[in-house]
Subunit: 235 residues, 2 copies
DNA sequence: CCGACACTTCGGTGCGGCTCGAAGCGTTGT
DNA sequence: ACAACGCTTCGAGCCGCACCGAAGTGTCGG
């Protein structure tokens, strides 16, 4: 078996509790320093440093030196997706019970996934934009292809979403992407637009991020406004 | 960090070279015995036994006792998907080169993924069925929803595909499902129909499975017949 | 120029777990 | 009933690696 090493190396890199904790901490898309990560993992700085070197060697994280601080972030969305899927498998309580793992109710409801909104409200956002015809989900052969319709583009601007999406920005990042939610097992919106919409939510004050957590805490007024603005029907 | 243990445990279960080799060997969907798996992993039987116990405890494989033989298979498609994604991450040659890892050209062209056809020909099959209107890819909110159209159902029967899909079979397995290909980064057909079509290919003699490998070896005549039968346009 | 700070590298320690030999079930076939 | 076979459990050896203390590099502030 000469095919296995790469997959085994990567899995084993994720497999250590301290490294897994670091990766989970990075899943909110922020870049954290080595010291911060050592705290969340519960190990000393020098131990964390070796862990981070390992994760970097495996291509799971990227480093970003800035003065005397070294920031670390996930290497890309594909890594975040892998971790989500891993959580999905870990959450099920053996022998395929139907219920999808709740973990934390707040986490289920609304959380950050890399840089966009996930959870029930993330799914509701995707559904709403799609039902309104703002989002076109194309039956393309490429992985589920999502794009903004022309009327949708205008609608988003009318809603006050600065959609600053320079088509020729040179970045290879897709404008929209569908991301599978591990708690709800349904699609939510990722990509540049997903990021912009999350920023919109935070700027409007509808919800705010809970420090050191992936949870996005919506006020009841904020949630109502959010649903009214983006989702076709009320809950 | 109390959230990490499950994901770390699962990842570390996959992370051992011997266990990874076993899982990869199981990715073709067959159920293998403990001795066969010990050979592919290159360890003794008793070592393999403990590895298999670990994988079973983590819910990654299922066991199936039959007389004095114990058969092992992947616990489900979700596990196979996770492994595919892991391969996708492992295949890239550091620092995001554009080329998707070829590994083996034959493997890229046509291989078995759990129980259905993947690789270039798997993608071509999906494209062809979709372009002919046999497959409807719905922009649903559930993970990319694929189903067979009414005319498509008749077309498949006309093509000689025994589509024996008892709607009320009680099994919760979806009729069709879209599975992401790690080599081509495009969708191919999974689910019950994907399984039936792979069987169809093998029964027609268009291609045959290479023993102890995931490769499906198409004869040139078989490939032509396959494309003519299912795909809208020739290559 | 020097101290404070963030981070990494270097040795040494200790535990976990991968491994295999030997022995213990359960099944199959004669 | 006995031997052959497949698999698992038990015990011991041994390597790897996670961990931390101490020392080394680079950066910021006074």
């Amino acid at each position: 078996m000469i095919e296995s090493p790469p997959i085994a190396r990567i899995a084993s890199a994720i497999g250590d509790p301290a490294r897994a904790a670091m990766l989970v901490a990075l899943m909110d898309g922020r870049a954290l320093t080595a010291t911060e990560l050592s705290n969340t993992a519960g190990v000393t700085r020098q131990t964390a440093s070796s862990h981070l070197a390992r994760l970097f060697d495996e291509g799971l994280i990227q480093r970003h030196r800035q003065g005397r601080h070294h920031y670390f972030a996930l290497a890309g969305e594909s890594v975040a997706q892998l971790l989500e899927q891993l959580m999905g498998l870990g959450g099920r309580p053996r022998c395929s019970t139907v219920a999808t793992g709740p973990s934390s109710p707040a986490l289920r409801k609304a959380r950050v996934c890399y840089d966009h909104l996930a959870g029930d409200l993330g799914v509701a956002l995707f559904d709403g934009l799609h039902q309104r015809g703002i989002l076109l989900v194309e039956p393309a052969t490429d992985s589920p292809h999502v794009r903004v319709s022309e009327t949708g583009d205008a609608a988003l601007r009318a809603l006050g979403v600065e959609q600053e999406l320079p088509a020729a920005s040179g970045s290879r990042r897709p404008q929209c992407r569908a991301c599978l939610d591990w708690s709800a097992r349904r699609l939510h919106l990722a990509g540049r637009l997903g990021q912009v919409l999350l920023e919109h939510v935070l700027r409007k004050g509808w919800g705010e991020r809970v420090p050191d957590s992936r949870i996005v805490d919506f006020s009841s007024r904020g949630e109502a406004a959010f649903l009214r603005c983006f989702c076709a029907r009320e809950f």
